[in-house]
Symmetry: C2
Subunit: 266 residues, 2 copies
Amino acid sequence: MEAINRHAIKWIYEAGQVIREAMSQPLTIDTKSNRNDLVTSMDRNIEQFFAERIRATYSDHLIYGEEGYGDEVTSLQGIVWLIDPIDGTMNFVHQKQHFCISIGIYKDGIGEIGLIYDVVADILYKAMRGKGAYKNDKRLPNLTKEQALEDSLIGMNHHWLCDNRIADKAAMQQLVKTVRGTRTYGSAALEFAYVSEGILDGYMALGLSGWDVAAGMVLVSEVGGMTTDIDGSTVDLLSKNAILVCNSAVRTRLMEEFIKPGRKME
Amino acid sequence: MEAINRHAIKWIYEAGQVIREAMSQPLTIDTKSNRNDLVTSMDRNIEQFFAERIRATYSDHLIYGEEGYGDEVTSLQGIVWLIDPIDGTMNFVHQKQHFCISIGIYKDGIGEIGLIYDVVADILYKAMRGKGAYKNDKRLPNLTKEQALEDSLIGMNHHWLCDNRIADKAAMQQLVKTVRGTRTYGSAALEFAYVSEGILDGYMALGLSGWDVAAGMVLVSEVGGMTTDIDGSTVDLLSKNAILVCNSAVRTRLMEEFIKPGRKME
């Protein structure tokens, strides 16, 4: 795993350099399933960049990626790289910042390596299972175990407060009025990184795929935080999930008072 | 005004240095009107820092500030400095980033100078009336005049989607579903700066004071954007306002389709 980690970090910095150099050029932007589901030529190029290097170096590893250069992954047996080449594509397109490369490396379903690289800020969040989490070279301390929900900052987007298939919007309104503040940054992986850093106390999101969360789950786990499906069960990395990631101090109240009572059965 | 601008920029950089040096020390945090209305010793110290320098150099100028070191300002006649020493205090406390110093300088009610300094990122947004807006030394281009609301990113907090005294939450839900994305950064002045930079297409906020918006209004005006009260009228800098700031491309639809129809009469 140490060798795999070194390769992954080397490639992530190289890919970041490719992106930074290309950002002055015009983008080709497509939409995937709808007008707001953007994908750029850069998303594709960067996933291909990783796929080529992984296959050349680790021919027995599998790749589970957003843009189609990976494998048909139906189980997490063996070593699987879960890759979002540009997490926060909307930010990439509109802001040319606030996006990241997210790579989680799992062995037999267990998260071994998590890497989240904020390309423009040049900040790499990194973790290996059992070895702690880092923001560049600074070790991140364990998350607080004592924090009132009323004093917390929670990352969530605005769709939680609209009609949706998962949560009760009235309970979500109550949550917004209960916490100290809410934030929306538009990159799931970066919001995981912010939870691991303790600058968000929790983050909840609808409709995330395994490549959005795989790296963040390793990071957050290394500082004592927890990620589950919104109903409290284990995240299935091979399907879409509504998730909650947070420190242990706010988890019970978030779940018991706000999420579960409004939870819709599908 | 050129001399005033030079002084203001010099002091804002000095204040930024004071803040960065002090950030490793423990904070004294009070709450103002409620648990979530934070004010730190730093907010007070920095306002006092500016008040002392302004009074020593420009004894006839007035100071309109959040923390009480300014003057009792009842009109905008003469030269008035509208100062938020730390805009985004919650971010300052929880994140140690994503906050700024905001200074607007107005003469007889007209915005002459706007300065918004992202202290940790070391980015100064600056504008003088008629002379353009800058992000550090880079001139900001005029905002787009052609942009579909469906392709826009809008800054707003989650309270727009809760019961509130200003807007209809059903109309706001429809807005969230119409735009490409929404963001919440927790610093009004920075969100004005992002509008001026074109990385947000609009920003709407409840309950802002003059010191929150004075600098941003000058900045945004210099790139062709517009700030009004949410009912379309001129912002009264001496009272609390719900405001809309945006580029001209999205303004009409935001107002006519989403804000006005749901507008509550008080």
